[in-house]
């Protein structure tokens, strides 16, 4: 079964700092990869996704992520964070073979951006 690891559980940054959140997955086959964001008190929203093609994908609100197949990684980045980026971020993977439409989520990274 696939698994997803998010090693940074809590991250605190000042506004305008750069962000990189790690995500590693364990599955050797073809995968679809996602980052979701959950703002305080809200439901999960899709930030960006990778399914094929250019390994550098751009999402909403200035976020991007890079798929590095050799490292089984899909790290999330943003050059300059804003206070409004304070939220919890979840990485998720869909294993194409046998996974069907199921996603496996990481445990999440709580990001706090200070003014």
């Amino acid at each position: 079964a696939q698994s997803v690891s998010q090693h940074n559980h809590h991250v605190i940054l000042s506004e305008a700092a750069s962000l990189e959140l790690g995500c590693n997955y364990s599955y050797g086959g073809t995968v679809n990869l996602f980052w979701y964001v959950q703002y305080p008190g809200q439901h999960l929203q899709l930030l960006l996704k990778y399914f094929s093609g250019d390994p550098l994908v751009k999402g909403i609100k200035g976020f991007e992520a890079e798929f590095i197949k050799s490292k089984f990684s899909f790290n999330l980045r943003k050059p300059s964070v804003q206070w409004s980026d304070t939220a919890e971020y979840f990485c998720a993977v869909n294993a194409m073979a046998g996974g069907g439409n199921k996603l496996t989520f990481g445990t999440g990274t709580q990001l706090k951006v200070e003014l």
Binding site: H9, N32, L44, N94, N101, K102, L103, F105
Partner: protein, 113 residues
């Protein structure tokens, strides 16, 4: 936002009582899911459905059952609620697409006392 509603949004119940949570979608998506979200665990899949009357277990299905009699509705039932089932429950939907992304409902906060 995808047309997904969950009811109730908040519920407090006592240990041993049955509880049913409802997820309703207006997107006509084939797949529906129930997750629970707990601190330190992220989202864990309870059950999912791949069509009317077609359901399967997820990784944390013990103590839960589901039913889907119509495309738009997916019910999650706790037959006899326990304190360990205190959690936030999210419903999600997806369709047969190349990318398999899921869209989430607003969640139900359940407290079992």
């Amino acid at each position: 936002d995808a047309g997904i509603t969950q009811s109730p949004r908040h519920k407090v119940t006592e240990t041993g009582t049955p509880v049913t949570l409802r997820c309703h979608q207006t997107e006509n998506h084939r797949y529906m899911y129930w997750y629970r979200q707990d601190p330190g665990h992220g989202l864990r899949l309870i059950h999912y459905s791949y069509g009317v009357k077609d359901t399967d277990k997820g990784e944390v299905s013990d103590g839960y059952s589901v039913s889907r009699s119509k495309t738009e509705d997916f019910l999650l039932t706790l037959e006899s609620a326990t304190s360990s089932q205190t959690s936030v429950y999210f419903c999600a939907i997806s369709e047969l697409t190349q990318t398999y992304e899921q869209y989430f409902g607003p969640g139900t906060r359940l407290t079992v006392t």
